[in-house]
Subunit: 121 residues, 2 copies
DNA sequence: GGAACAGATGAGTATATGTTCATATGATAT
DNA sequence: ATATCATATGAACATATACTCATCTGTTCC
C-alpha cells in the first residue's frame, strides 16, 4: 500500500505538510485577497493620492483639481472616474461644473496611519 | 498697475484663486506623496498580499511559500526581493534554505483595518 | 572534487496602467 | 440656434509590472 510520497522539502523547510495545510486554511481567503489588492491599488498612484489629499480639505471641481495638480484636465478626469468606480469619491453637479468630494470615511484614517508609519521609519 | 488676471473659472468653480493657493499649501508634500504611493503599491498586488497573509502566521521558506501560493519558485522569489527592498520582510538563512518573516510592525495593523473596512461596505 | 538541492537573478514577454490627443456630451448664455 | 465652457470618454501610445524560462550562486552530502 503506497504511502503518499512526502514532499521534497518536508524536513529541511521546517514545516510539516500538515502545517502547510493548516496555514493555508488560516490565510485570508482568495476573493478577499483580490479585494484588498484592488483597494490598495487606489492609493498606489501619486496622482490619485494627490487628488485625495486635496479633497481631504474640501470638495473641488475638476478644473481646480487640474490646477492644483498641474495636470491636464483629461488625465484628472480619467483618474476621477477610476476613483468614482471604486466608490472613493462622489460627485455633485451644479450647472456646468462638477464638484468632487471624498465618499469613503476610512481613507483619511488609513492615510493618516500610513503617514505616521512613514515618519517613524 | 495691472491686477493679476483672474483665472477663467474663478467664480463658477466656487473657489477663489487665493483658496487654491492655501489648499495647495495644505496638501501633503510631493515627496511624501511619492512615499505613500510607493508604500501602498506593495499591497496592490494579490501575490504580495498572499505572501504577507501567509507570513502573518509564521516565518516560511521560499519553497513552502511557493506551495502555499501554488506559484513557481521564481515568481515568489522575485516578489520576495521586492518586499525585501521595501523593508517589508527580512530573511534568515539556515543552510540551503532561507526563511522569510515580516519586518514591518504596521502592515498587519493596516491590513486588519482594511479588512474591517471592506467587510462593512 | 562532483551531484543535488534551495534560492536568486537577468532576459524576454505579455498584459496592465497612466497620460495625451481628439472629440463628444451637456449646460449656459447670447 | 450657436457659441462657449466644464467635463467625459475612446483610441493610441509609452512605460511599468508580473510572470516564465534558463541560468547562476551558494550550501550540503557523498
Amino acid at each position: 500500500m503506497q504511502q503518499p510520497i512526502a514532499e521534497d522539502c518536508e524536513v529541511t523547510c521546517g514545516g510539516s505538510e500538515a502545517d502547510l495545510v493548516r496555514i493555508k486554511a488560516e490565510m485570508i481567503a482568495e476573493p478577499l485577497i483580490q479585494d484588498i489588492a484592488e483597494w490598495f491599488k487606489v492609493l498606489s498612484d501619486p496622482t490619485r493620492v494627490k487628488i485625495i489629499s486635496a479633497l481631504m480639505r474640501r470638495e473641488l471641481c475638476v478644473h481646480d483639481l487640474s490646477e492644483l495638480l498641474e495636470m491636464g484636465q483629461s488625465a484628472v478626469s480619467h483618474q476621477l472616474r477610476y476613483l468614482r468606480n471604486m466608490r472613493m469619491v462622489k460627485r455633485r453637479k451644479v450647472g456646468k461644473t462638477v464638484y468632487y468630494a471624498l465618499d469613503d470615511s476610512h481613507i483619511e484614517e488609513i492615510i493618516q496611519v500610513t503617514l505616521e508609519h512613514l515618519k517613524h521609519k
